[in-house]
Amino acid sequence: MSDTYDTPDTRDMLDRTRQGVIGQPLDRPEGPLKVAGQATYAAEYARENCAEGVLVGATISTGRVTAIHKDEVLAMPGVLGVYAAPQMLRRPAQGTAGEAPLQDPSRVDYPLQPVALVVAETFEQATAAAKALRIDYDDASDKARFLPTQETAEAAKEPVTAGDLEAALRDAAHVIDANFTTPGHASAAMEPHAAVAEWDGDDLTLWGSLQMIAFNVAELADSLGIDPKHVRILSPYVGGGFGSKLGISHEAVAASLAARELGRPVRVVMSRQLVFQSIMRRSETVQRIRLGAGADGRLTAFGHEALVSNLPEESFSEPVTQASEFLYAGDNRLLGVRKSDITRLTAGSVRAPGEAVGMQALEVAMDELAIATNLDPVELRKRNLPETVPGQGTPYSSRRLVEALDAGAAAFGWDQRSPTPCARREGEWWIGMGMSSAARVNILAKAEARVTLTAQGHVVVETDHTDIGTGSYAIFGQIAAEMLGQPIDRTTVKLGDSLLPAGSGSGGSWGASSTGSAVFYACEAIRATLAQALGCSADQLILKDGQAWAEGVDARPVTDLLTEDLTRTGKIEPGELMEKVNQSTYGAFFCEVAVNAFTGETRLRRMTGAFGFGRVLNAKTARSQCIGGMVWGIGSALTEELSFDARDGHLVNHDLAEYHVPVHADIPPMEVILLEERDADASPLQSKGVGELGICGAAGAIANAIYNACGVRLRDFPMTPDKLLADLPDPFAPAA
């Protein structure tokens, strides 16, 4: 049987199994370890005789290292070595690269690029020597470009065109033509990048903080020039990744090289500042959205063009228009993203690449169109849901956008909203409501997992898949327990070790469905063997609480059917369905904001999100993902911005005091509605991804609520007080 997923699995297996744990809001089994400080993170592995490494960042923006005055620091107390080998990384690897990213740190591509590693007996000694290390440069910064411009951007790769956008705009009854800007974002994961490397002969073990182990093994081996079979990576707990740990980064390669040279383990933990300065940023964007609609609000023209940036030689460009391809109607289309090469740290995947910033702009433009057409914003969206993907004709799989709009509106009380701005004032605060749609592509990725049903009836799930705080440990256990009819407390999940079968890795919201499908298939294989032993067909086999039976066959303990441990491996690969059917995920946001009439400060008062993303595998972890996503949307709307110095491209706000993620006081009561859905086109679990959906469009709802509150239309994010001041109505004037 082929492993590719080419035909929809409509058996509804997980609705027919009896254990009843799938979808339940179960706690994460590793939660108690984490809150008790017993989950070991990369930097915490205590290896005997471990030396400490500190990375040194370049002081120029771009150019070459001409000399590193190693001797001066080698004489300092405790210093063991200074490394600047050509195998060391110049940039982090992009997600799913599976090969070495650009190496040779003697070429400096961006400010603070790590150019050397100093290793000493203690962290303090290494830090002191790293600070003292003198490096000479051939500084080429005067030739560098630090700001993206349209003029210097390359042509859009794979633009989407259909019909004649310009003509349709000319003919449209209503036209919106607006420019939006979003700043760079950081992943800002709590756990900084860290690695402990140890060699045993030719074999390397690396304890790291990484999201995609199989890819990371390939990247690390390629960087070091060794066979991947000599590399083992362990990453069982990850303190957040959000894209920043998809590929390997500087610390992993530097620690490995130094450990090999020194013949002892080496730990490299990046400082918070260096993580901000040298890992991955989300590109800033400049977006132009043009919408043309008839008098009835139906879209005839849809243009979404974006300018993003990256370093030269990087192929990644923030896929800003990804959801614009399929979300709304409009037969005449032009979508495209252009990339401008600039000197700033590498741009790459940050949670919900593309939709995170593209959707928030699109949803503001839709709000403007709702006003122009005098339609309720919810109604406008409903009117513009295409039958098939515009310009492509691809059908949709499950799409519960209408249900999300209706359920969200009802729960939130959308009917209480006044369509006119400045209608509600409470003391100093203008109060307003806004909404937006959510949309995000869904991806199935290649994955493998191994499941064992032990002779004692215990279930063990094994894969190198990671849990980056998302709930992998919980969900894979639930799938296996459900399929094999065992209570959840007889289930163990082992993750994050490259010796285990290669899961899909955590990224792109695909982990639970992809690796979960591999777990599912492994369980199906076990069920087939059990059915044979029981003397029924796999289809008829019923498993629950350790008992097996079938129609006309008496119940027996599963352990009676086993003479030894039963181990099966399941595999899945994306197939034709990914191309043939658009399987995106959808939702809707509703929120209420207060805007201070004097100061322009915006405070969110409540927010509701309703989402449909296939089968809910665990209602608690799914809800948490949705809330986490919405919090990211709030940050994108109101506070988060990477500030670069336009003169040399360096990042000025490089810690959590100055890069403003939302704090508790910024987050009001959040309501999440999970819409049950089965999407057989997406995976045999009939589930899709949910890790990013909650961000995609959320900031647009807040922008629209700000407009509704005080009549100021902002298209420049984040919407900090300074941007509202000029257009706020007179604070002393009474409400309209």
Partner: protein, 320 residues
């Protein structure tokens, strides 16, 4: 962090006249030492010298320099008679930081200029004569009043702004003896020596902050910030204002986030005193306050923002 010597003072006298750097809560100094923005050779820990009581002093109050920010904010007398101080403290940092932070250390916290905190950049405050990277750089949180061509940094704290409005006095010990510095004159403008944040001399120890008799009236600390908590002020306004028969009988204002010092302007207080509140009056006060205000590009918005924040505070305090 550079290696340093550490010792502990047992009494105030041990700390006075020492060249070692004093460390109290350490919440600002240690952060800067990790960045090697501060590189003291020696630290002298003053957390055990006492000075941690809040005592009545006539009609006023004397707050020891080592009282924690949390304890000061929670003190029932302060909450009742000098609520402005309590509110300003609670508007700053986070509970964890306020538990560690001391009154003396808070006054001496250093600027949040991004270039000051980054050793790669030119900064006259960190390295006199090296230049000022903030001019022409990212300067959204910088000064609009009293800046110089050598430094445009702000004093970032909240508590000192409230203390300025409350007419507090800083008490210190020098080898030559004790002295008192009015809070309004404790910090200094950058001029051509921005390395000096305030008028403390080397070896001088803050021992206490005293509050005069309660000013009464309405006391408001309004901090405008990018997020609801855990962010420094974009601008802030401290006001203690008393109304009598529809007129402003007395008003003491101070402003944060706009200058190298908590900013005060007696003329603004005088202009308002004796007047009937109105939006037009508030505007006139703002005109005077902002007469010499100058933006640096990214922080231009602070000029209208301060005007509006002042209007909000005056409207609230006067019931207008």
């Amino acid at each position: 962090m550079k290696a340093f010597d550490y010792s502990r003072a047992e009494a105030t006298a041990d700390a006075v006249g020492q060249s070692a750097r004093l460390i109290a809560g350490g919440t600002n100094l240690l952060d800067l030492m990790k960045l090697e923005v501060e590189t003291p050779e020696a630290l002298l820990d003053i957390t055990r010298i006492g000075l941690n009581a809040i005592d009545a002093e006539g009609e006023g109050l004397r707050i020891g320099a080592l009282v924690s920010n949390s304890d000061a904010a929670a003190d029932p007398r302060i909450r009742r008679d000098w609520p402005l101080l309590s509110r300003a403290i609670l508007a700053g940092a986070s509970p964890q930081l306020r538990n560690k932070a001391t009154m003396g250390g808070n006054l001496c916290q250093r600027t949040r200029c991004g270039y000051f905190m980054d050793n790669r950049s030119a900064c006259n405050k960190r390295e006199p004569g090296s230049g000022c990277a903030a001019i022409g750089g990212v300067n959204r949180n910088h000064a609009i009043l009293g800046a110089s061509s050598d430094c445009i940094a702000t004093y970032p704290g909240d508590m000192a702004v409230a203390l300025s409005a409350l007419q507090a006095v800083v008490h210190t010990e020098r080898p030559e003896g004790a002295r008192e510095i009015p809070m309004r004159h404790f910090h200094r403008l950058p001029g051509d020596t921005p390395q000096q944040d305030n008028h403390l001399e080397s070896g001088e120890v803050i021992t206490a902050i005293s509050l005069p008799a309660p000013l009464g009236g309405r006391q408001i600390y309004r901090k405008v910030r990018d997020r609801a908590s855990y962010a420094f002020a974009l601008v802030s306004v401290a006001a203690a204002l008393r109304m009598e028969e529809g007129r402003i009988a007395s008003v003491h204002l101070a402003f944060g986030g706009v200058a190298h010092t908590p900013w005060t302007n007696d003329h603004v207080d005088e202009l308002l005193t004796g007047e009937r509140p109105s939006p037009a009056l508030f505007d006139k006060a703002a005109d005077l306050l902002l007469e010499d205000a100058q933006g640096q590009g990214h922080n231009d918005f602070k000029i209208p923002l301060l005007r509006r924040a002042l209007a909000a505070v005056l409207a609230e305090a006067t019931g207008e």
